[in-house]
Amino acid sequence: MTVESLQALLHSSPHVWRGRETARVDARSSGYAALDARLPGGGWPIGALIEIASKTDGCGELRLTLPALKSWCQDGKSVAFIRPPHVPYAPALARNGMTLSSLLWVATDSDKDGRWAAEQLLRDGAAAVLLWSTAQEDRALRRLQLAAETGKACAFLYRSPAALKQSSPAAVRVAVSATHNGSGMSLDLMKVRGGHPGKLVLPLTRPAA
């Protein structure tokens, strides 16, 4: 029996458990092939909490999620930015292909209110929520994880790099920083449930301004 026919046989039957290949994960492509290859199901896992910690503002932390957000918008789904650190700049978002009418911006001073809004949106209609929160409690993270699961949505939680030192129920935890020549972003996938943790560099197009 050749390797090919063995492979074909293995793949033809759903009853064969194939070791490393874990249960199929519902996912949305991140838009970056190198990143998708490391994520379970080939993209951001749906119904999961994803932690993103950026060392500094302006290193690509939003461009990391933007292609997926764009694809949700194109499907007519809604995405929400909750307590972003700055004004999400409409001209730049539109230029990057985001449908502004699919984007909701929740501006509140209270971290608690922000988490509450995130839960509501995750449960009840948004395809993805980007939440900026300083919450440390495990319980707060678990609530977000549960809301994402219930609503089959993606919860992107933006945190400070220090927060990555604690354990977390998140499915994916990634630290983002800029490469020194500014031509890309360095990702440190610290945890990828069902995928492949490790470091990688994604190319970024240099701003044209």
Partner: protein
Amino acid sequence: MLWVCVHLPHLAMELRQPQQPGPLAVTDGTGARRHIIACNPTAREAGIALGMDAPSSMMREPELQMFDRSKSDERRATLALASWAHQFTSDVCVEVSRWMVWMEVGSSLRYFNSLRSLYTQIKTGIEQLGYTVSAGIAPTMEAAALLTRHPDVLPIINQSELRRAINSLPLAGLDISAKAVDQLHTTGLQTIQDLLGVPADALARRFGQDLPHYLQRLLGERADVRRRHRAPAIYRRRFDFMEGVESTDGLLFPLRRILQEFAGYLRGRDLAVQHLAVTLQHRDNRETVLQLATSAPQRNAAHLFALLREKLERIAIPDPVLAILLNAGEFVEPSIIQGDFFDDPRQENDNWSALLDKLRARLGAEAIRQLGLSDDHRPENAWCVLSDDKRDTGTADTPDRPLWFLNEPKQINDLPQLLGAPERIEAGWWTGQDTRRDYYLARTNEGAHWWLFRDVGTNRWYLQGLWA
């Protein structure tokens, strides 16, 4: 004709449910004529019965708390139920003193598939309002009313079955005074059949014309001419508390009931609301007004309740609440087609706008934002938060701009490495000063990309954006 009669046997009690447990009763009359007209289960278990006079009730259960009935509250509740009932038929009658509402359903049956499903909807609807209900179905209004007293008797659908179905019932359920029933009993009459065997003129001589007329209406031999209840054009509902309510929790139960009544009224008129005022009345004519505005036309009680509850939980109630008032006079076409709640493709959109309403109710309307573009080359003015008077006017055809924007530019002293040539943006005429800005892309030591400008007039540097 086919009438559904609904009777609220414990209405007086259910309107005055104070917090404390223990035996409670509602009374009518004063002095020696004060007697029980409603009581709670604890009182019933202690042997308290309707019609019992106040002193003997107290003898039987010294712990019994008695409250005077409030006819105005009963009236408001019964009329609100009549308005609610219009969702099932346009033909509604009400008798406030008997705590009864009738609905003619013969002509609307086909909209509700079957009598059973209609009956279930009516009953569960009233139970959700927080009332105990007994219902009867018959071809005449009085026969339907009679059956509310006999829950074990099957609905009477055809006029021809009517007499046979009620013949064996006792006299006690009829709408005749207890005194008259006693007199009839002493003459040996026990059942309705017995009573119907007595010639009408003999009854009239002894009890007056009303009794034979009533029996003829019961059997459908005499037309039952009554004024029909009409749903009001402007909806007002008032609910009075026995004692001031200080906690939000205490307001929720009556508020839910009021909103469910209102939702039934809206369905009956096939209308919806976008604005709603709920007023909490305090002592000395002081008020707290909750204004509710929804993003889409609404008539879903649970949704309106959730929004008001959010609002209630966010405000401090300054004083005990003596009454709740609901006022609505501006109605709009509903966005959901009646009877089509689950198949409607707009359902998803409705859920979304319901969710946005919920967020607005808690976080404030200004916290929930949608972005738009403005046709303006000045960076601060090239974007906007959409509102009723701010529409998207721009195009996506802009130069590359940073994803994060600082509406208040931040002055910087240590300049990062500048990349490329500047972009000159004239700003003089909008600040009132002669200001021009040269915008640069810059890279920090950490590799972040910044959008900076140099104020050409002052030569100061500012950070205005980040390529996130």
